[in-house]
């Protein structure tokens, strides 16, 4: 546990000192969303209808964008091998790295999401559910993405390959995330899709560290 918190602190410190990553991801997220009113036309009704889905898809792509750096830098400078050899179980260390990734890229997305909802003319009743759905969904994205990031370590064209592997697995989170927002906008009960998102998160939390750790072990073998 100690080494996990130490790793988490190291990751956060690295992210803070280098800056960059979180800000870039948020800027990408905002830019993608801003493209939609320009692309489909600025009519408020249409934007309000597709807003939830647009924000979710943009969040998915933004999470994708930073994913390939999750293990790659550690793999390049060799510290990943030290983590594999460390006495602490690799699954816990993976979880710490994923937590750091979510704190630096997932959390900022949730914070700016109400602003984007405003830009897309979403009705205010949906803001809370949108943030809640993103809060339950983006950790799953980080967890699933960790498997893909570990699998593509050292691959040719790793970034493109990573999106091919991971985006299909993101689909369940996308479906239930959007249906939660839609339910809130239509004054329906948004609890069931949120509960399913929570269930997906628990499932990912239980399974993904194992798969990602197995993938890292075979990459550093």
């Amino acid at each position: 546990m100690n080494s996990a918190t130490a790793l988490l602190r190291r990751e956060l410190r690295l992210a803070f000192r280098q800056g960059g990553d979180s800000l870039l991801v948020v800027m990408f997220f905002v830019l993608v969303v801003v493209l939609f009113p320009l692309g489909v036309g600025p009519e408020p009704g249409i934007l309000a209808r597709i807003g939830g889905g647009v924000i979710w898809v943009a969040a998915l792509l933004a999470a994708m964008l930073s994913m390939d750096r999750l293990f790659q830098t550690d793999y390049d400078d060799g510290s990943l091998e030290l983590l594999v050899l460390a006495p602490a179980p690799l699954e816990v260390l993976v979880l710490a790295k994923v937590a750091a990734h979510w704190l630096t890229t997932g959390l900022p997305l949730i914070i700016v999401s109400p602003l984007l909802a405003l830009l897309l003319n979403l009705s205010p009743s949906g803001y809370g559910v949108l943030a809640a759905a993103l809060a339950l969904g983006t950790p799953s994205l980080s967890l699933i993405g960790a498997i893909g990031a570990a699998l593509t370590l050292g691959a040719r064209r790793g970034g493109v390959l990573l999106s091919l592997l991971v985006l299909p697995l993101f689909i369940p989170a996308l479906i239930f995330g959007v249906s939660a927002v839609d339910a809130a906008l239509l004054d329906l009960n948004s609890r069931p899709p949120l509960l399913i998102l929570g269930a997906l998160l628990l499932l990912a939390l239980a399974l993904c560290p194992w798969a990602a750790a197995a993938a890292i072990r075979q990459a550093t073998e």
């Binding site: 050292g154 691959a155 299909p168 798969a211």
Partner: protein, 250 residues
Amino acid sequence: MHSFANPTRFLRLTRALQPWAAGVALVCLAAGLYFSLFASPADYQQSETVRIMYVHVPAAWMAMFCYVAMAAGSASFLIWRHRVADLVAKATAPIGASFTFLALVTGSLWGKPMWGTWWVWDARLTSVLILFFLYLGYMALYNAFDDQARGARAASVLALVGVVNVPIIKFSVDWWNTLHQPASVVRLDGPSIHPSMLTPLLLMAVGYTAFYAWVLFLRVRTEFAAEKIRALRFRQAAVPPARELKSQEG
């Protein structure tokens, strides 16, 4: 089971079984096609369109069967390091992807006259589309590394991760209200489909399975041959050929 991990024994087995698989596949597919296209009744609701079902349903079954076979091969490769199991998984991937593609295309051709649309985003269709992407991802990941052994291991892990999708496909028609109809052949209270339609369907299913075995044996033997050629090339590159040595001496 482990005795088949011996490549020589496995190759001998495939060589013996391959003509049988080919024979069963050809006979069953010919008979199944005759029954499904000519000797079975048209449906009272779907009329002649129902005949697409005889191509579609076995393809969808095989799509899932191939994925399970691929995952089983990957698991035994990761656990026991059986090279044969990895080659079986690798050889299964393109076959399974083709079956999935066939199921998607025939389903879409059937959907246009029946549902009035080529495609709907219901749970069954979406999860099968994800299955198709998983096959593509497996093949892409397998070939993405300079070191082939590394690609084999990474792709095996991916195949195991994707197993989550298989029960989702199977039960998607029960869990959600889908446009796709629920199971009518494999169910607890016996098949709810008339024997005149069940016969050609089962014939086609046996034919598809035998076809899979046939192509699988062929592909695995090709993989072994390719590996042998590669090893020979390496040896040739390392040692100059004997003939040249002789000519130098002369």
